[in-house]
């Protein structure tokens, strides 16, 4: 697909896709930005995610839960990105200086860089799966049931992960 090709879909699927875009694009962007720490790259990854989803639908396949599907595609793309760059997850100290500018795109910005760094430090010391669960629960506002679907874990496992993650963060932040 060259990015300009027409992808005809039935009206119902079109509407479902656009609804998913409206609801999930900002969340996917936030998720992506916190993983790759670059605004341009995060935008590109989210764009690619939706494009691949559209191609999937065009091939006549059905998507039961858009959120689960889109996050899975995005996570795969992020993994591919790090693999292609032959890089590991970077710590906050390795972030470029202008990275904070990327977080200040919205009018309600995170004004305090120190505060932001503190939050990210806390999140980064969690295992990857707990980071994602915490992100989905408290930043994106998904329910435990939805997170279970997103992560492929049982509800009880999600509850345990949330409990452990919050305790670790509490200690880290000395709240």
């Amino acid at each position: 697909m060259d990015g300009n090709e027409i992808i005809p879909l039935d009206t119902k699927t079109q509407q479902a896709f656009l609804r998913a875009f409206d609801e999930l694009a900002p969340k996917l962007y936030r998720f992506s930005l916190l993983k790759v720490s670059s605004k341009v790259l995060a935008e590109d990854l989210v764009s690619q995610t939706f494009l691949r989803t559209l191609q999937y639908l065009h091939n006549g396949r059905e998507i039961k839960t858009f959120s689960v599907f889109l996050y899975q595609v995005l996570k795969n793309l992020i993994t591919d990105h790090w693999r292609s760059k032959n890089r590991q997850n970077v710590s906050l100290e390795e972030f470029p200086d202008d990275i904070f500018a990327d977080y200040r795109q919205s009018p309600e910005k995170i004004t305090n860089e120190i505060e932001f760094k503190r939050i990210m430090d806390g999140l980064n010391q969690l295992p990857k799966d707990q980071q994602e669960i915490i992100h989905w629960r408290f930043i994106d506002g998904f329910s435990v049931k939805e997170i279970a679907a997103l992560s492929g874990k049982k509800n009880s496992a999600i509850y345990v992960s949330i409990y452990r993650a919050i305790n670790k963060l509490k200690q880290h932040w000395h709240v």
């Binding site: 990015g3 300009n4 694009a25 605004k39 559209l54 309600e108 930043i139």
Partner: protein, 354 residues
């Protein structure tokens, strides 16, 4: 337990991270386009077209029927004519029949130009009559309404999800038309500003309305340029870039002209003040002490106020000139969007000074 809530509250601060709204809008428009939704919507409009056809037929019958003659005569009516309200009414009907956003924008701008043309014609017909003043203000107010309508339509257009090429053509057409409106406005200003000095503030409001339209159009142009770097619309991107450059040049010229006019006005104003000051002092010397005491407060107080006003205007004009310089710098660096912003701010400051 309280500490857990605080931890969660801290985490939720990350919710403030949001994507760039312009990017989000462009992406949505892009997916809408590649899903070909535009055509689906167009295909689902038979009822609307049937309704429009009925209105068109009705109006046609009215034209051919009893009122036809009067309506046709009304088309040439000027604001002081008895048939003028009928002309405005038929224009409203015509406006309802216009289909498509592009044509609606064109129609609104055409009406704005027509109103200004009427001022010119009325002045030619009435000479220096007092009637001209009333007519001019009413017509300018109508023209301003039409410009506001065009602005709203352009805003709607920017959210329609059309592709860059379509938007580009529409915006280019609208800006050309707006250029004609500005030319006509300048002609009216040249003819009437000396005769009716109060008209300049009304004409300024037309300029400000035009700037708002341009600002909306520029947003679409900039979005198009941004989108064209990630999608294959490079040729449109180049055209859009040139159009933005052209707009930047126009904005600089307009601000420059306005600053020059206001500068001249302020100079004349300053001369008048100094004359008043000299004459006033001479007068006071001639008059007796008693008379001087009686009038002492009044002329001086009014003069002080005038000097204060002059100083305020001069400061504003200085700020306008500074902004214009910034605009020129941005233009030389190729930042045309920033040029337009600075030049328009310069224009607005000059209007305030005026």
């Amino acid at each position: 337990m309280f500490k857990i809530f605080q931890t969660i509250k801290t985490l939720k601060k990350l919710k403030k991270i949001e994507p760039d709204k312009r990017w989000l809008k462009n992406q949505r428009a892009y997916f809408t386009r590649i899903m070909n939704i535009e055509e689906t919507i167009k295909a689902a409009r038979p009822i609307f077209f049937r309704k429009t056809a009925v209105i068109a037929l009705t109006v046609l019958l009215v034209f051919l029927g009893i009122g036809g003659g009067a309506i046709n005569s009304a088309q040439a009516a000027l604001p002081s004519d008895a048939l003028y309200p009928l002309k405005l009414f038929t224009e409203k009907i015509q406006g309802l029949l216009v289909i498509g956003n592009e044509n609606k924008i064109d129609f609104a701008l055409k009406l704005a130009e027509k109103r200004l043309e009427e001022i010119e014609k009325e002045t030619e017909r009435n000479g220096n009559s007092e009637k001209n003043e009333r007519v001019a203000f009413t017509a300018i107010s109508h023209a301003q309404d039409n410009l506001k309508k065009a602005e709203t339509l352009i805003k709607e257009n920017s959210g329609s999800g059309k592709n860059e090429n379509e938007n580009f053509k529409q915006i280019e057409k609208a800006l050309k038309k707006l250029g004609k409106v500005s030319e006509r406005k300048n002609r009216v200003a040249a003819k009437l500003s000396d005769k009716i000095p109060e008209l300049s503030s009304a004409l300024n409001s037309l300029d400000l309305a035009s700037i708002k339209i341009e600002e909306e159009a520029n947003k679409i142009i900039i979005n198009g340029i941004i989108a064209s770097t990630t999608e294959p619309a490079v040729s449109a991107g180049n055209d859009l870039f040139n159009l933005l450059k052209e707009q930047a040049q126009k904005a600089i010229e307009r601000a420059e002209k306005k600053i020059r006019i206001v500068e001249e006005k302020l100079e004349r104003f300053a001369e008048k003040i100094s004359d008043t000051q000299i004459n006033g002092n001479a007068d006071n010397e001639k008059r007796g002490e008693e008379r001087q005491e009686k009038n002492q407060g009044k002329p001086l107080k009014s003069l002080e106020r005038l000097v204060q006003e002059l100083e305020d205007s001069a400061k504003k004009l200085e700020s306008a000139a500074e902004k214009l310089n910034n605009a020129k710098k941005e233009f030389n660096e190729g930042n045309f969007d920033k040029t337009i912003k600075q030049a328009n701010e310069a224009f607005k400051k000059a209007v305030e000074a005026e």
